[in-house]
């Protein structure tokens, strides 16, 4: 990591182009924008959109995945639709939703969620298919009840799939939110990058990128990994 930063710094200083600024200049721009510019506002707005789209995609995708994994009839009925959605280019989905339902916060979030939903459903469907029927029978024979069975028997078996979907989902949603913002929002990181692109401000673009990467890493280390460790104590 450090070697990479040093190479970047040295390379940029040797080339000396406005289009390839050194790491220190990017860090300084990041700091300045965070203190006096719209960076924190844009980052916050984008973060909220990511959270909303992520929640919607994970919830609906998991429900759909479990339903399709447990019911062969439902799976037959929806499988081609799922494959279609899975292969729909993100850009097409976003543009169509904007055109059909208008430019708004809701449509932006829906468009992003739609891109993640199918892959969540496919991943969780695998988990639902792999559920141990023996343990479910055990719960039934000991009269554990639906809620307790879901919480103690079914969900723990789905955790690895849910975490897998969450991790790849976060990575995907970060990227697609920027496209949705670029096409149809007037704030957020995606919008700002478009502005900076028109100004050919590579330092600004890299500063935003860096801020973005830092936030994603913080979520991974601070939230996802501790949660996963907790769920895996018994291993």
């Amino acid at each position: 990591m450090l070697a990479l930063l040093l190479a970047w710094e040295a390379g940029a200083r040797i080339i000396g182009s406005r289009l390839f600024p050194p790491a220190t200049a990017v860090a300084a721009a990041l700091w300045q924008d965070a203190l006096h510019g719209p960076l924190l506002h844009n980052l916050g707005v984008t973060l909220l959109r990511v959270a909303a789209a992520f929640t919607v995609a994970m919830l609906l995708g998991s429900l759909l995945g479990v339903a399709m994994g447990r019911s062969a009839a439902l799976n037959r009925a929806l499988d081609s639709l799922l494959t279609g959605l899975l292969n729909l280019p993100a850009l097409v989905g976003i543009v169509l939703i904007y055109v059909w339902f208008g430019l708004s916060e809701t449509t932006a979030i829906a468009a992003v969620a739609l891109n993640k939903l199918p892959s969540t459903a496919v991943t969780v469907r695998e988990g639902a298919r792999a559920l141990d029927q023996g343990l479910i029978d055990m719960a039934r024979s000991f009269r554990m009840g639906r809620g307790a069975t879901l919480r103690h028997v079914v969900l723990p078996q789905l955790y690895p799939y849910l975490f897998g979907a969450a991790r790849s989902g976060l990575a995907l949603i970060w990227k697609i939110v920027l496209v949705a913002e670029l096409l149809g929002r007037s704030d957020g990181v995606g919008f700002q990058i478009q502005v900076l692109f028109q100004l050919f401000d590579v330092t600004g673009i890299l500063a935003y990128t860096l801020a973005f990467i830092l936030v994603v890493q913080a979520i991974e280390w601070g939230l996802l990994q501790p949660l996963e460790r907790r769920a895996n104590v018994w291993r």
Binding site: F142, G145, A148, A231, W234, R235
Partner: protein, 226 residues
């Protein structure tokens, strides 16, 4: 009779697994169902336990509704992400005091906070037995509870099962393929035929459940089934 089983016909996987199988279970009685593996014994326990209701015939309980049934499956079927104690506490209705006493009887007193992955198969089996007793069952369903244990572990398992039994009396159906095991644990033995399963012979074990271990059980079995 606490239970009256009358399975006219049960099909599974495109063949008839059980046909014309009838027997009763008295309150507090232990009946062993003995037959070769694959003869439909596990299927029968699923029908009696209410896990499978697609069959022709009737399973009738005294009083009209099924009593509390404690099941010991062929595999321990403990939740790997819950400790032994939590596994036992999850059954309905839970009874922490009884659970503690049972763990002691079954030789698991110091293993309550262990995850099942840290237990040997023999210990996991005993934990599953503790769980089945923990609901104060009126009937216990035991599906080959000591299969694939080495002889010493199986003998220990039978000993703690008998101990738990004398602490809380309940009726039980024991499925096994081992006549010696059946003779050492049961009051009555029903021999089942293969494909489709039906009772072909019924033998009352003299002084049932007073056997001292499997060797004595084997001697009695040899005398009963020459």
């Amino acid at each position: 009779m606490i239970l009256d089983v009358d399975v006219a016909r049960k099909d599974a996987g495109g063949r008839t697994v059980i046909e014309g199988l009838r027997f009763g279970l008295a309150d507090g009685e232990v009946v062993a169902l003995v037959g070769p593996s694959g003869c439909g014994k596990t299927t029968l326990l699923r029908l009696i336990g209410g896990l499978d209701t697609r069959f022709e015939g009737r399973i009738t309980w005294a009083g009209g509704t099924a009593p509390r049934i404690g099941t010991v499956f062929q595999e321990p079927r403990l939740l790997p992400w819950r400790t032994v104690r939590q596994n036992i506490a999850l059954v309905n209705p839970p009874d922490p005091a009884a659970a503690k006493a049972l763990l002691a009887i079954l030789g698991l007193a110091t293993y309550g906070d262990f995850y099942p992955t840290a237990l040997s198969l023999g210990m996991a089996r005993r934990a599953a037995i503790a769980r089945a007793f923990a609901i104060q069952p009126a009937v216990l369903l035991l599906d080959e509870p000591f299969v694939s244990l080495d002889p010493a572990m199986a003998e220990q398992g039978r000993a703690v099962l008998t101990a738990a039994w004398s602490a809380r009396r309940c009726a039980a159906l024991l499925v096994t393929h081992d006549l010696a095991e059946a003779a050492s644990l049961a009051d009555r033995i029903l021999l089942l035929s293969t494909g489709p399963a039906r009772v072909v012979q019924e033998v009352v074990v003299p002084d049932g459940r007073r056997r001292q271990g499997i060797a004595e059980g084997a001697r009695v079995a040899a005398a009963l089934f020459p």
